[in-house]
Amino acid sequence: MKKALSLIGAVLLFTGVTVHAQDSQMANHLALGISLGLDGVGLEAALPLTPYVQARAGYSFFPYTHKQDFDLGTLEIGGKTRDLSRTPFSATMWKGGTGKLLFDIYPGRNTGFHFTVGAYIGSGKIVHASADISKALSPQDYATLAITYGEGPDKIRVSTDKNGFIHADAKAGPFIPYVGLGFGRAVKPDSRVRVSFDMGALITGGIKLQSYSYLRNEKGDPAVITSKVLVDESGRQMDGGWIDKICKIPVFPMLKLNVFVRLF
């Protein structure tokens, strides 16, 4: 993470120096574009800072939500068993959308190939899932009854929100550095429409799998679920350690296609 930040800082510094030297190139064109990629669909604005550096800023969101009924078995509290065999489940990505600020660095004045550094900024919820268990609980228990698991500082608490939904996220930090490479320039003075392509990696440094309890905070207190927490009474990890392994993967891939229209 620190290295990525240093890299971005170096690029910005480099950009500043170059802008000074090539002042006549700075921000004299603007293109607006749409993007389609693993971050969803988005809008981007691009402006060349120098012949070697282009800045892009934008926002994207994931327009698709997968919905399916799942058999979650039963929930037993006290002497009562609640049926969760047909639980409506939905999942989407990049909850709340992401803002982004990217800098394309071109090795030559006229090359389309470029390196890109920058950052994605948002909730960090790369995957968001929710399950509707409202029919399994009394309405008076929505956001007021939590299931706990484990003990001590690792104890997790999970409840529904006020509508009877349980939420879970695969979450990175709110500021995710990006490094990658790509092809194409968003802005070229002699053409109105441009296409560019990005491929790279978001440096998440790993993610957290977390659910929420809404008892103390209506926005939800996170409950981080780890393999260490999910142990049975004999001390055996119920997930075989897979949650920790997946959560430690430090990058998330990114592929993106952009189409820009030069405004001036």
Partner: protein, 285 residues
């Protein structure tokens, strides 16, 4: 101008995801309790007989409450204290529901309000109560309970457990009715616990702890404070399901709100449970 527009546009696009709200939280402080200067404990060398009571001590708290400890004459669930509100005027303490007290040196004159009981004048040890720390000074008040979070784990739950929030304090009717949704609780049990809805908690500088109910006799015990560590002990006769009658945890004051997080070990039908209680308390003025 064009460049300014472009840079402004870019900044505007970033702004919604990078701005932070700042919140200026003004915190109220607790005023000194109403009768802080009058707080004292009156102990009698030999119990004073007033009507059917054999009184060991009378405590006047920092926040207008009196606690009269008397010898228990019956062994069922019942209080060994009289508990109520007092006021002070013309050098006389008026103990609502009991009578008047007048102090002169180490002489106490007790004038019960009940018919047939004349004034009694006795020698006593009278000790003013002082609080030495900010936490104890803050704690020595009467509190009503706001929201609570009850937690139960262990026992039949195994590794799992439950937590439930109740917004209206310790209302045993509400808690009992909710619990009966999940646990085998009879109507008779519900009727038994219903009167024990908590009206107020009294913490006195002397270390006395009173749990006063809306429709039942109060529970009396003691509490200790050490930094932010807090514990209270009630009679096991009163709370037989809590091991040792002891509940311990932490206490914290934010503005005029007191938050207690406590844990206890509970035993029910030979199963051992870990019980937690988070209480938000508001001062009664």
């Amino acid at each position: 101008m064009k460049k300014v527009f472009i840079l402004a546009l870019t900044a505007f696009m970033i702004l919604p995801v990078s701005c932070n709200k700042t919140q200026d939280e003004k915190q109220n402080q607790l005023d000194p309790p109403a009768t802080k200067e009058l707080a004292q404990t009156i102990r009698f060398n030999t119990p004073v007989e007033i009507g059917a009571l054999s009184i060991n001590s009378i405590e006047l708290t920092e926040a207008s409450r009196y606690i009269i400890e008397y010898n228990q004459t019956k062994a069922d669930w019942g209080a060994s204290i009289l508990y109520g509100t007092y006021s002070f005027a013309n050098n006389i303490f008026s103990l609502q529901g009991f009578g008047n007290l007048q102090l002169s040196g180490n002489i106490v004159t007790i004038s019960p309000s009940a018919a047939g009981s004349g004034p009694v004048e006795v020698v006593a040890n009278i000790n003013p109560t002082t609080t030495t720390t900010e936490t104890s000074s803050n704690a020595c008040r009467n509190w009503e309970i706001g929201q609570i979070i009850l937690g139960l784990s262990g026992g039949e739950f195994g590794q799992a457990g439950i937590e439930k929030i109740f917004k209206n304090g310790i209302d045993m009717k509400e808690i009992g009715e909710w619990a009966s949704e999940y646990f085998p609780i009879s109507q008779e049990d519900l009727a038994t616990i219903a009167p024990y809805s908590v009206k107020e908690i009294c913490m006195a500088g002397s270390g006395s702890f009173v749990l006063a109910f809306k429709s039942a006799d109060p529970f009396y015990g003691s509490y200790t404070l050490s930094g932010s560590n807090f514990s209270y002990t009630l009679s096991e006769d009163d709370i037989p399901f809590i091991s040792g009658g002891k509940v311990s945890g932490s206490i914290e004051f934010t503005g005029t709100t007191c938050k207690i997080e406590a844990t206890a070990t509970a035993v029910y039908e030979q199963e051992k449970y870990d019980a937690t209680l988070e209480m938000e308390l508001h001062e009664i003025r």
